[in-house]
Amino acid sequence: MTRFETAFAKEINGKRRAALVCFITGGDGDTAANLDALVEGGADVIELGMPFTDPMADGPAIQEANIRSLDAGTKTADIFRMASEFRARHPQVPLVLMGYANPMIARGADWFANECAKAGVDGVICVDIPPEEDAELGPALREKSVSLIRLATPTTDATRLPAVLEGSSGFLYYVSVAGVTGMQQAAQGSIEDAVAKLKAASTIPVAVGFGVRTPEQASAIAKVADGVVVGSALVDLVKQHGNEAPEHLRALTSALAEAVHAAR
């Protein structure tokens, strides 16, 4: 079983439980300590953001985290160092790199896929490579058995969905609102409808994100989805608490994990 399969197959009281997916931006604060806090708090999957100068799909919280990270001098090499050190400390926890196309292809897709494999990265989310441009990154990742995790959105209709699912693996990330990260949350009813449609079409788990901040929201989503993604709320804690962030991250992650794992 892959790390993703294990993470999404965990059970509680004999029932399959939903997974908690936690995002922070690499190089924003003490990333190693922050990642450890997320795992200790109960995160099942980690998304590590690769900073980019022009994060077009992100709201203010993650935009600022990108700028803080780059201003602190974070390089692509640092992100891979963080990833491989994480892998050494946490052999079982799936690790996803999330970011934008240009830093991923700057040295060539093959180079990037190879570094991912070497660092023990399980999957990659690239915000601005839709299925139509898969050739840019997808073949290189699949060659190295690194999952390409695609995004589905409220605007992804039934005719597009097969193209989105084709070549994607690990899990499917359902962006529940048409918008940027960290803004409003979608209505629960619309999430339930969308997840039902995606799960009917897909053999891989469906995780839902964008705008999820509280255990209550996470619990509601975890009733229907295979995973719940939380990002901006965690990134806000890193901004607010700097080097003291780990204890706050651990506390929020624990509350979220408890809500997600016990939702069904």
Partner: protein, 413 residues
């Protein structure tokens, strides 16, 4: 890097996936993909619809004031002929896009796109702007068609282009200040894309240059090609033959592609695109993405970009706000690699000199963007025989730039 596509024609691209060789494409978030595909479908229909083009042509004539003149510049011609070696110094013509309504070529594209927006049933308009010319042109067509309009503009550009900000407000647009990053054109495009993603159901994004995700580079080029089509007719009428050299400034590159595209398959017509070299291409303050950049992905397309070894976008600099962008349209990247167009960097200082020369010799105050094109004349005229014909695209008027120029010349107004 893939080899340039072998072609018999330079005018058949983009291909059906929106690529010009390795450049172009549709690198956008999934949320935008369905709309981008809809836009392409609607544009294909519009292309075949005589009623669409009849409305476009009528607005071009009576609202924009086209055709813009092709003007023989006698004193510039004499000036450079006198400085050139014996027998050198071609006849210089200006394509007078600065005489259009709103003072630049930008309006051509805005008319085309707002007609598409209306066909698609979109009720709100957004746009990004650098110098403010595209913002003013968008606000103008939004007012003309009665659609609410938001213009995203970098905080730094709002400061250096105050007259255009006021113009947009007079035209009823809401100007939204972008405070992130370098607070200039690139950041206004980021914020416009962020807004669009959240409002994609009712909002049409009028992109101002021949860049962004397919089909924007193609449709912007097609709307701007009226520049080259008119130039072709006008020079044939005046000189009985095609020009030998076309010159245009390239920021995103819409005025240049508009002039060049109708001539791309005429091998006797040479073309020079001018990139903004800021303080010089050997400094870190320039906007010459072909000379100083490499291919990458930003704002929905693959093209040459100013970037570091990690693929982080580096900040562009030009005295001209309209050229202050770290990339350019994908078709220019392809024309560069295929060798069809020669791209040359021009510095802030050279552009300022050309700006003054044009004012003094021709009684025309050119935009700083167009001044970059004019600044290529000393070198080009020294190399071309005097029976040759050269056309410069004077893409915009310089009224908006007088404060910047005064400051650069140390003049207090």
């Amino acid at each position: 890097m893939t080899a340039p596509t072998p072609v018999n024609s330079f005018r058949t691209l983009p291909d059906e996936t929106g690529h010009f060789g390795q450049f172009g494409g549709r690198y956008v978030a999934e949320t935008l993909m369905p709309l981008i595909l809809d836009l392409e479908k609607e544009y294909r229909k519009a292309q075949q619809d005589p009623a669409f083009w009849a409305e476009f042509d009528a607005l071009m004539k009576d609202f924009v004031g086209r055709p813009s003149p092709l003007y023989f510049a006698p004193r510039m011609t004499d000036y450079f002929r006198a400085k050139a070696p014996a027998g050198k110094g071609p006849k210089i013509y200006f394509k007078r896009e600065e005489l259009n309504h709103t003072g630049a070529h930008k309006i051509n594209n805005c008319i085309g796109q707002i007609l598409l927006a209306i066909r698609m049933g979109k009720t709100k308009i957004i746009a990004e702007t650098g110098a403010g010319q595209h913002g003013v042109a968008t606000a103008t067509v939004a007012a003309r068609f009665g659609l609410p309009c938001k213009i995203f503009m970098g905080a730094k550009d709002i400061e250096r282009q105050k007259p255009n900000v006021f113009r947009m407000k007079l035209l009823g647009a809401e100007v939204i200040s972008c405070e992130s990053g370098s607070q200039s054109l690139k950041d206004s495009m980021n914020d416009a894309l962020r807004y669009w993603v959240a409002n994609v159901h009712d909002t049409f994004y009028i992109i101002g240059t021949a860049a962004g995700p397919h089909p924007y580079p193609e449709l912007v080029r097609d709307f701007q090609s009226i520049i080259g089509k008119e130039t072709r007719e006008q020079i044939l009428e005046k000189e009985g033959r095609l020009p030998d050299m076309l010159v245009a400034a390239v920021g995103g590159g819409s005025n240049a592609i508009g002039l060049f595209h109708p001539f791309l398959d005429d091998p006797e017509v040479q073309m020079t695109g001018i990139e903004a070299a800021g303080h010089g291409i050997d400094t870190d303050k320039h906007a010459a993405s072909l000379t100083g950049g490499k291919p990458g992905i930003l704002h929905g397309n693959k093209t040459y970009l100013l970037q570091d070894e990690d693929g982080q976008i580096t900040e562009a600099h030009s005295i001209s706000a309209g050229l202050d962008y770290p990339g350019l349209g994908p078709e220019h990247s392809w024309l560069h690699e295929s060798g069809r167009v020669n791209y040359v960097p021009i510095t802030d200082t050279e552009a300022l000199e050309a700006f003054q020369l044009c004012c003094e010799l021709e009684g025309i105050i050119p935009a700083l963007e167009s001044s970059h094109a004019l600044a290529a004349l000393p070198q080009l005229t020294a190399e071309m025989d005097e029976d040759k014909l050269l056309v410069v695209n004077v893409s915009g008027r310089g009224d908006k730039d007088i404060f910047t120029v005064a400051e650069a010349l140390g003049v207090e107004l």
